[in-house]
Symmetry: C2
Amino acid sequence: MGLIVQKFGGTSVGTPERIRQVAKKIAKKYSEGHPLVVVVSAMGHTTDELITLAQQVSDQPPHREMDMLLSAGERISMALLSMALVDCQIPALSLTGSQSGIITDQSHRRARIRRILGDRIRSALAEKKVVIVAGFQGVSETKEITTLGRGGSDTSAVALAVALGAERCEIFTDVHGVYSADPRVVSSAFLWEKLPHDLMVELATRGAGVLHPRCVELAKQNQMQLIVKNSLDPNESMGTILIQRQAGNSSLGMEEFRVVGVTSDKEKVLIRLRLTRPTVLGAVWERSAQAHLSLISPVFSGQDVSFYSERDGDSEWKKIFDELSSQGFVESYEMVSEIVPVSVVGDRFSQDGSALSEVIDVLSQSHISVVSGSASSLAITLGVLIHQVDDAVRALHAAFLESKKV
Amino acid sequence: MGLIVQKFGGTSVGTPERIRQVAKKIAKKYSEGHPLVVVVSAMGHTTDELITLAQQVSDQPPHREMDMLLSAGERISMALLSMALVDCQIPALSLTGSQSGIITDQSHRRARIRRILGDRIRSALAEKKVVIVAGFQGVSETKEITTLGRGGSDTSAVALAVALGAERCEIFTDVHGVYSADPRVVSSAFLWEKLPHDLMVELATRGAGVLHPRCVELAKQNQMQLIVKNSLDPNESMGTILIQRQAGNSSLGMEEFRVVGVTSDKEKVLIRLRLTRPTVLGAVWERSAQAHLSLISPVFSGQDVSFYSERDGDSEWKKIFDELSSQGFVESYEMVSEIVPVSVVGDRFSQDGSALSEVIDVLSQSHISVVSGSASSLAITLGVLIHQVDDAVRALHAAFLESKKV
């Protein structure tokens, strides 16, 4: 049987009790004969607690030392899970990111995976062991321990699945899978059993919290089958599978646009800046790229630039823009915290204006002001006022996902 | 053996001599045992000649009658090709769009395909006949003859392939396939043997003339294998296959962005308009969508709206905007004919700002002014001056497709 890579998040391994439950789940799968690699996050709030500890010790902890500190979190959970497995009579071996040969670039706290060696994992699998790998961490070419930043553990799991030629990658989390909209906002939102990778990239980029776009991009690029399941669902009866597109049997016309999800993202803010002159654009993007913060839906025209980025990255942006201002690049900037993105994700949006026209029309009928927007072939993203965003999601879901067959 | 749908464009069936050559090509494939459906365009400049005739007869020919007229072009080529096949001892039958059951909406001159019945095609195939279908045309639910507008014949071919469950769809055209850039602009541009559908949608939308985005979208949606070949290449040794993504063996780092093509489009112009107030946006998109003209990279913020559309659609846009102005929706508008879009198409562009930053940097080092731009996960599109656009394409191709392994 083919190799399966499973990943369990912080909540799933949050207590000793839960670690024992996860071990039982793994033991069951192992008994079916599947070779298994299991990626774990740090237990519950461990990472946050370690960050707090660092801040109590130092005003500006060096990123290298932060990575040394934070990478301890997954070492704890991987060792504990390995112990719990041995208790279940399952041969298990834990490996750090470094021991697994997860080679990254040198950007501490936000490293990107370059490639995976995986020799020790392969040897352990050959010995019929379940291999527990610390997620969220790797090692640079210069042998420094790095952490992967946002979406890190999921990305570790998919990267391992790709490098080891796994049959599939299963991400266990605290929701049942990917919904047509956030079920906390839209009571009629439904779970997708299957979704194509490219649409999941857009959903993830635009606020569907269940998976990070990084890991979905990696799965898409390599056509890795990626499954999202609820770790608390004992039967694993629900879940969403990301797979290659299949011939559609939709009741829509062959050339009609179609919608698979409506997302919003209150954790993002609209950032607007005015350059001193158009030619300094390069300097601004370069500086922003170096800071590795998100730049969602970037748009610029002449001296005006706008994009969405993390609300909690505010202070980092302020530092960058103040610096760029003092260097004579940026004339002014604002973080428009009351404007957040709402997106409609689907297919065939750039064929003509009808998708955009219908989206705007739905919002206008619901008396929702649209401040700004842009559209690509797979997504339409609009800036709306934060106090209207839930209404916007509900109106769009009702118009495109409830009344129409999809 | 599986059904193959082949499509031959206007140049391929441009003269009686070429029609006989196409018939020989078809005869060869038929003798290999493949059931065949062949979609043809009108011969050479027939459609243009019919349009000129109509303009000589009437100042404003009704769209319904234009469709009656234009659909004659493919009837001529399909009948001639069928005759040439019978001459080669191949049983052949020609069918119009209507006879083939290509059901469209009611928009004359730009109809969308809703579904395909295909009963007569299936019967003819069962009798071992090669079925020649008139491309670019269909019939509405109210039994009116419609034409499909831009990209129509390619779209007929892919839609038939999907509806008939074909093994693949082969588009014969006058180039060898899909290149990393236009070889007339970039001498080192290379032919792609394989490309994933979603990236081809972006290339086609952004100026790669070889395939129309409509037919690629349809192929993508249904994962139809689509092959582009040169009809003048007797060995059919070259060509590009659009297929599902496969696990990558790229030498790039796992999480690096990658570029597959650089395109530009001198047939597009930047259209900018200023609304009288933000709330009239819906009216503007609705009116634009009704006109069915392209809206590439639409962006809006407050009262400012911009997008790219067909240069030759200028007069139609002027009519729409004058009307919207007189209704108090549009304050002012301009068609910036000296600004055209140049695009970089690839993967992982929305992960962080590094792709955008590098693109801007390359252009700035080549002293190319970037007037505006936007980015999605698969494409970065920038507005540059028309006299600099070829230089822009060469600089970007050199930076991302020659020096880097892809």
